[in-house]
């Protein structure tokens, strides 16, 4: 498979703080690549730098679309999209206007059909369609995430980056978001998925990177990473999709000594053994 994104020794610094140091990473066409890691590992800095939103050192190249490396605008015109953790919707505008603006740079392409694109997004997110004339700022958290994702999909992205799409959402909504991610994967959209919800992310991913303290600690096929003892200990032990802590189980903020330790890591998963369920009851009382 051809490489879409090639990062070579990417570093990001804020004043004196190093957020990322020498990260090298590849994302391939038709695959879902995931980057997992705890809070403050530099995941958001990574996608922001890839999108050109923040200055960075090292090389960001898009081998298929060399021009895209010029600026954030050039990336968007190459149909490389980021759905940021902060959503960044246009609050006072309607859902419909937010979606239309998603296709802003495509509006002058030949054969551009706004209505067809809107219909596509409406099919994926019927709830957005119901609220089409509502101001974006009146939406609930889950709907906002759907709108942010829908806005990106309006561009029919060739490479889509999702930053913590499940953050702060109820399990039901998380399931819906992941359903859409799987659908996009089937449609052949290459995805770079940033997640704290390691289990859900690894389940859809082909390839995974584990980021900690701004450095890649581990990489490999999703299956290998999922099987890695250290990952199991640090992330999967508590990354329950329907977990009692809500969708995003918070890993320890600072993991002393790398992957293997962590205060909650050794705690057995209460609902182990129900892996087959797409989402599982957190409380377990009813099962």
């Amino acid at each position: 498979m051809s490489i879409l994104l090639d990062l070579e020794r990417l570093s990001v610094r804020y004043n004196r703080l190093t957020a990322l140091s020498d990260v090298s990473l590849e994302a391939r066409a038709g695959e879902v690549t995931t980057v997992i890691g705890p809070n403050g590992a530099g995941k958001t800095s990574l996608v922001n730098a890839v999108m050109g939103l923040i200055p960075s050192r090292g090389r960001v190249t898009f081998p298929l679309w060399p021009k895209a490396a010029l600026s954030t605008g050039a990336r968007v015109r190459a149909r490389i999209c980021l759905v940021p953790e902060t959503r960044d919707l246009f609050g006072p505008m309607t859902v419909l206007d937010n979606l239309r603006l998603g296709a802003f740079v495509a509006r002058s392409e030949r054969g551009f059909d706004m209505e067809a694109r809107l219909a596509e997004v409406a099919r994926l997110f019927p709830r957005l369609d119901e609220r089409r004339h509502q101001q974006a700022q009146t939406l609930s958290g889950g709907e906002r995430q759907m709108l942010a994702l829908g806005r990106a999909l309006m561009l029919r992205p060739r490479f889509l980056m999702l930053d913590e799409p499940s953050l702060g959402l109820a399990p039901l909504v998380v399931a819906e978001i992941f359903r859409v991610i799987e659908q996009l994967k089937r449609d052949g959209v290459a995805i770079l998925l940033i997640e704290q919800n390691a289990r859900a992310a690894l389940r859809v991913a082909d390839h995974a990177y584990v980021l900690e303290g701004g450095e890649v600690q581990l990489q490999g096929s999703a299956a290998t990473v999922m099987a890695d003892a250290r990952v199991v200990g640090a992330y999967l032990g508590m990354g329950r999709t329907g977990g009692a802590q809500g969708p995003v189980a918070e890993p320890p903020e600072r993991i002393e000594g790398g992957l293997a330790s962590g205060s909650e890591a050794s705690r057995p998963a209460r609902d182990a053994g129900v892996h087959h369920a797409r989402t599982r009851p957190a409380i377990g009382a009813a099962s």
């Binding site: 999108m51 939103l53 200055p55 010029l70 600026s71 954030t72 605008g73 050039a74 968007v76 015109r77 999209c81 980021l82 940021p84 902060t86 959503r87 960044d88 919707l89 246009f90 609050g91 006072p92 505008m93 206007d97 239309r100 603006l101 998603g102 802003f104 740079v105 509006r107 700022q137 609930s140 958290g141 806005r151 990106a152 561009l155």
Partner: protein
């Protein structure tokens, strides 16, 4: 007061009001796209009239030096920043906007506008000079703090006004100018005599309000500009650069300012510092429209013109006092209409 006097005052008021409409519209435009209360808009208008007058007198207008200086500074800043980030696209854009374009305009103004050139050509060069100042001002004063609060941006705008008027005094001198009328003999409608100039100002302000209103309501490009004000990052992510949006707003502001200056030049004597009071009166109008709604802002500006006309009949010395005190009830009404509620998003 007889009906005749009232009619004349009304006509005066509408003519002045139309000028304030031009201003109020630009203030709304710039505010909705960048959240800047663009106080120096009045200065651009005054500079435009002063520039045209200098061309008429056969001098090189001081605007040329302001533009050259501003462009050079902007080029250094923008070019330096782009070079530091090794951003080729940024470097090219800086060279174009702050290098090539201003240079071409400055050279044209220096060598290609003889005293006997046709008025239309002089107007065109004037427009080019003033329009080009818009984006330069944006780059020098506002772009580095584009994400700051409206209050900080307002302080910067006021500082920019003082800078402009101080340099204006230097290059234009303290004398006022009145540019020659260009539209031909006045029109006579019944008892009223209306100059074509006035008709021009009213017509262009109407067209402007209509166009901008439609543009921001209906077109996707208009909404993209507004998006930049709502959420800068969000705008970047759909391919709309907030910087480019701000620059666009300032180009339009410069252009409208230049045209306004040419239109009102023959109606009133303008000095290097006339712009401030003009701008503030436009602002009082814009407040009526909450700095957001074009037709309302235009109505407000018209109201300011009328109040001013009638005030100068009754108490001409206190004309400005009355106009600026008018803002108090207007603000009071606005504060009742849009109480400041701090709501937390979930």
């Amino acid at each position: 007061m007889t009906f005749d006097i009232a009619a004349v005052l009304f006509q005066d008021g509408v003519a002045n009001g139309a000028v304030y409409v031009l201003l109020a519209t630009v203030l709304v435009l710039v505010f909705t796209v960048t959240r800047i209360v663009f106080v120096p808009q009045g200065d651009l208008i005054a500079f435009s009239a002063l520039t045209l007058a200098a061309f008429e007198a056969g001098h090189t207008p001081g605007t040329v030096w302001i533009l050259a200086l501003g462009a050079a500074l902007a080029l250094i800043l923008a070019g330096g920043k782009a070079a530091g980030e090794r951003n080729l696209a940024g470097l090219a854009s800086a060279a174009l906007w702050f290098g090539a374009v201003p240079a071409a305009i400055v050279l044209t103004a220096l060598f290609l506008v003889p005293k006997e050139a046709p008025l239309l050509w002089k107007m065109a060069v004037t427009c080019a000079l003033i329009t080009c100042l818009g984006p330069i001002l944006y780059r020098l004063v506002f772009e580095p703090i584009a994400a700051a609060s409206p209050l900080v941006l307002l302080i910067a705008a006021v500082a920019a006004h003082f800078g402009l008027s101080s340099i204006g005094l230097h290059v234009f001198g303290a004398e006022g100018v009145r540019t020659p009328g260009f539209a031909g003999p006045p029109l006579v409608v019944g008892d009223l005599v209306v100059t074509r100039q006035t008709v021009g100002v009213i017509a262009s302000s109407l067209v402007l309000v209509g166009l901008l209103s439609l543009f921001f309501r209906r077109s996707l490009s208009g909404k993209a500009l507004l998006a930049a004000a709502h959420n800068r990052r969000g705008a970047e992510l759909i391919g709309v650069s907030a910087t480019a949006a701000g620059r666009t707003a300032f180009i339009v502001a410069g252009l409208i300012g230049a045209i306004s200056g040419i239109l009102i030049g023959p109606m009133t004597t303008l000095y290097y510092d006339s712009g401030f009071i003009l701008g503030l009166k436009g602002f009082v109008g814009a407040i009526v429209g909450a700095l957001a709604i074009y037709p309302l802002a235009a109505l407000g500006a018209l109201l300011v013109g009328l109040v001013e006309a009638f005030a100068s009949f009754w108490a001409s010395a206190y004309r400005d006092v009355i106009v600026f005190t008018l803002i108090t009830p207007v603000l009071f009404w606005r504060s009742l209409a849009s109480p400041h509620v701090e709501e937390e998003a979930e």
